[in-house]
Amino acid sequence: MISIENLKKIYNHVTVLNIPGLQIPTGQSFGLVGNNGAGKTTLFSLILDLIAPNSGSVSNNGIIVNQSEDWKRFTGAFIDESFLIGYLTPEEYFYFIGELRGLNKSDVNQFLQQFSDLFNGEILNKRKYIRDLSKGNQKKAGIVGALIGMPEVIILDEPFANLDPTTQYRLKGIIREFAAQKNTTFLISSHDLIHTTEVCSRIVVLNKGEITKDIQTNTETLKELEAFFSKGILEEV
């Protein structure tokens, strides 16, 4: 359960994020959509305590994130390539994260088996460092890294961007499976309305740092979102 209260982030006198209150219950697949600059990454960075809020707080399972480090035990994240260690091979990277989460090598190997489709034979045992992988493969490694150790909360920023269509479908399957079987709380941001509506049970629309829509996903959600984001444009045409 993540709860946000009066959260505000201001850069150079411009309020880039202003959320009076938001609760994300345990086990929910939470989708965050919004245009560029809407504040999606800012929100995730605040939840991960990578930037400091100007006011308000984020608590993750009751732990205020900028007061204690205890939330790190049950939270996994992949925001961008700065979550990858370039000079390690993907295996070493997975073992590293595994060890931090109390898993030994064979645990990690076993865990990785379920991703052989996603990896498509391009990640493991390739004798390549992560820095030498293609952007797409780096992303796959990062996303899987965030899943290692079954964190209760997983935060993925734009997980579908830069991935090929097949991988996007596979990734959707993995997220659904984790959410359904393991009661994992997912926080996913995306520009892709279709993917988000398919994967997430709740969708929040951010616009200029403020929550403008908060929808429980149903059959009409996609249409509603499309209408919201194309407002003004279709009328002109």
Binding site: L48, L50, S82, F83, G86, Y87, F96, L100
Partner: protein, 487 residues
């Protein structure tokens, strides 16, 4: 076009996150440089009369020693002159001629302290020569020849940095000269003096020396222009990844996990590898200073000891946590405690310092007193300086591009003046303590006091760690923001 490049350079400097620190360091460096320039200027004006007074012919005497200066200049350049970093990738697809980019890059290297300081000696010296009735044309040709040698060094250094084979050749030549000279088998001045003298006696040769830097410039130009494609200059060639397991480290838990990573960090990236190499060179620093009669006091021994045992501490430790800058957000959001993270870095520094103390045992040949100084300094380094570098590191917010060593247009120097300036205050305190105890009692008391200070530092380790941890926490957001700016 050049104006655009220049304004981009200025923006890169003034808008970088470490601007304030950079500026402070630049000002300190500026003061140092000004001091040395004044000294050099005074020497340039005065040397003529000094030599005259000793009944030596000034020009030929200077010519005799010029070769040492010239070679030393190259060595100093290698260690201190940074090759300017250019972020060429964005320009490659823009309508900018490749030649323009390369010539700006090469031209930028010419505007450097290392090319300007010789003028402070040679210009006044030449003027004094002319004023004293030496023929203008001949002095001018000599001056031009020296100037050419300066710029020759400038571009040679650039090639040494980027081409391993040039580095190897120059290294072999320099080392063999040094060895021959040291054992007095061959005095290079016998061969070099007539050459330098010839720049004066035959003006044609002097002016012809201009060709040397020009040809080298042309070579550099064609070399850098050729590698200026994304796949070569900007992107490294792929090598097969090796994997090492270091399973023996696994029994140390999280600490082992971090140490394993740090070892991989050091051996798999060029930048950190050269840092390791430099820290090994520090081991021999004592030979330089302790064989010299001027430095034959106990205080200097301790000074040498601090350097000998502190190579890794200063060159690597001073840049924690910047080594992890590329993936700092991961480190800050993974299941890692600051304490564990810092402890592993601390252990790495301590292990390296202990290894330095053991490796430095060859100083025993120079007397056990010297080794005693080294051990005392080593204990101090472990107990106090290991904490201080970690503390200072929290404020050094320059991201380290680990891959830079692989790029032609990147900066691959592991050792720079910054490292030195940051290290300096850490040397002064123990020297002061030593001096007080040495003057009040005796040498042994002095060494003992320094060592005890080190042990005390160890005893208060947890307290120190808590302080450092709090500073890291306070600086966390600023550090993350600074590391985000890669260019």
């Amino acid at each position: 076009m050049i104006k655009t490049f220049l304004s981009l350079e200025w923006k890169a400097f003034s808008r970088s996150a470490s601007f304030k620190l950079n500026l402070a360091l630049k000002i300190i460096l500026g003061i140092f440089a000004a001091f040395y320039l004044v000294m050099i200027l005074a020497l340039g004006v005065g040397v003529f009369y000094m030599l005259k007074e000793k009944n030596l012919e000034p020009l030929s005497t200077v010519n005799k020693y010029l070769v040492y200066w010239w070679l030393l200049d190259l060595v100093i350049r290698y260690f201190l002159q940074k090759s300017p970093i250019m972020y060429v990738k964005p320009f490659l697809t823009l309508p900018v001629k490749k030649g323009k980019i390369v010539s700006f890059f090469l031209g930028k290297t010419a505007v450097s302290f290392f090319n300007i300081y010789p003028a402070f000696f040679f210009l006044p010296f030449s003027i004094v020569l002319i004023a004293n009735g030496y023929p203008v044309l001949q002095v001018l040709s000599w001056h031009v020849a020296i100037l050419s040698l300066v710029f020759f060094n400038n571009y040679l250094n650039l090639l040494i940095d980027n081409l391993d084979r040039v580095f190897t050749v120059v290294l072999i030549v320099l080392v063999s000269f040094a060895v021959l000279q040291y054992y007095k088998w061959l005095d290079i001045t016998i061969y070099s003096t007539p050459v330098f003298q010839a720049f004066y006696s035959s003006p044609l040769l002097g002016f012809a020396m201009l060709l040397l830097p020009l040809l080298l410039f042309r070579y550099c130009f064609s070399y850098f222009k050729n590698v200026l494609r994304t796949d070569e200059a900007v992107q490294p060639r792929l090598k097969d990844a090796q994997t090492e397991n270091f399973t023996w480290l696994e029994k140390y838990g999280t600490l082992g996990t971090f140490l394993k990573n740090d070892i991989k960090l050091i051996i798999r990236n060029k930048r950190s590898k050269s840092t390791l190499l430099i820290s090994v060179l520090f081991l021999f620093y004592g030979l330089l200073i302790l064989t010299n009669k001027t430095y034959e006091s106990e205080t200097w021994r301790l000074f040498a000891g601090l350097f000998v045992t502190g190579g890794f501490l200063f060159t690597f430790g001073g840049f924690v946590p910047s080594w992890d800058s590329a993936y700092y957000p991961l480190m800050m959001s993974q299941n890692i405690r600051y304490k564990e993270y810092l402890t592993s870095k601390w252990w790495l520094i301590v292990i390296a310092t202990c290894a330095s103390i053991i490796l430095a045992s060859f100083y025993l040949f120079m007397g056990w007193k010297i080794y005693l100084a080294i051990i005392a300094a080593g204990i101090y380094n472990i107990g106090v300086n290991a904490h201080l570098v970690l503390l200072g590191g929290a404020y050094v917010k320059t991201p380290i591009d680990l891959a830079a060593g692989k790029k032609v247009f990147g900066d691959k120097k592991a050792f720079n003046l910054q490292t030195f300036l940051i290290a300096l205050p850490k040397m002064l305190l123990p020297l002061l303590i030593f001096y007080i105890f040495y003057r009040t009692w005796n040498v042994t008391a002095g060494y003992l006091a320094v060592a005890v200070l080190g042990v005390l530092g160890l005893a208060f380790r947890n307290k120190m760690f808590r302080i450092i941890q709090n500073i890291y926490k306070k600086e966390k957001y600023a550090t993350l923001a600074a590391y985000k700016q890669k260019n």
